[in-house]
Subunit: 192 residues, 2 copies
């Protein structure tokens, strides 16, 4: 038995009941009544999110296309990789990635590589973002959502990862996409 | 003017009004009435979170100490770096990191390096996690929160980053902490 396959029965909670306690436009909150590993009851809260796909689009010159977007919850503009929510839970994540890349940047890609799936904040939310590397890019028209305002910027992927290492990039999916794409392309001998 | 200093006035939303619409045990949801860049009104939702600190504890042998924890919102156990919420918004984040490392793992560190601050999911939440590399570790007693059940595991940092690159690590702060610590220690010549 390796360390990662160890017995977790002493830390697993049993979920006894789940019910919706708040339903907003985007945010849905459920209350979970659980039984702790020691038998005591406890309450957890879980935001139910449909999930999302995100894309690191890297062209033949090693330039990555990013979006600048105002994020109302933090009151400032963030530099991010293109991304968007699934239209419905269970939507094909690769298909959502193709759609969001096209809508936000106008780009289509001939080569797709799944980098990883991340849970953004598992203490209180079930959001999973699937992150893809997109290569062999061709340019078309953008088609953003009607309440979505974006500025597109391009920079070398190596510059983005340097900014990550200097602590200048705040968005978690963007940090992960940049570092994993850089590592993967380095391994493949596509020094960027 | 570099590309990152470009004028964002065409994408900035004005926040006109904010009010609490749900207040749970942990999750607080605010409604934001905003004016879009084109002058139309819109509504955003923002989960207000106190923030958190997370720690990548790496010992002299290059072993990183991790916690396995059941996460009710996703119904499974995740492998994560030690982390915890701030006791109150504005708490000193380095102090919170020292406390959480001690409570969850029993470790104290003689050398601390701030890696970065991340926003986990800026579309609907203001959570910021500060991530630190902790070195020169000494061992004491753990003191977990009363409703927190953890299993501690150790592995080489290089093994953790290999698991990240294979898509086996889901937690976003853990992926970022692992990749940035590995890169930083490599640059410092502490090949791990």
């Amino acid at each position: 038995m390796t360390r990662l396959e160890r017995d977790d029965s002493d830390i697993i909670e049993r979920i006894d009941h789940e019910e919706r306690v708040f339903s907003g436009k985007l945010v849905k909150v459920n209350r979970l009544d659980v039984t702790l590993p020691d038998g005591r009851p406890a309450m957890r809260e879980a935001i139910r999110h449909p999930g999302a796909s995100a894309i690191v689009p890297v062209d033949a010159d090693g330039l990555v296309t990013l979006v600048r977007q105002f994020r109302a919850p933090i009151g400032r503009v963030l530099l991010e990789i293109p991304a968007g929510k699934l239209d419905h839970p269970g939507e094909d994540r690769a298909e959502a990635a193709r759609r969001e890349l096209r809508e936000e940047t106008g780009l289509s890609a001939g080569k797709w590589t799944h980098l990883t799936d991340i849970v953004t904040t598992p203490g209180f939310c079930d959001e999973v973002i699937s992150i893809y590397l997109a290569e062999e890019l061709t340019r078309g028209e953008t088609d953003p959502d009607e309440d979505e305002f974006l500025n597109i910027v391009k920079m070398p992927l190596s510059e983005l990862t340097e900014r990550v290492m200097r602590g200048e990039i705040a968005d978690s999916k963007t940090i992960i996409g940049a570092l994993m794409a850089q590592e993967l392309l380095k391994e493949d001998g596509h020094g960027v």
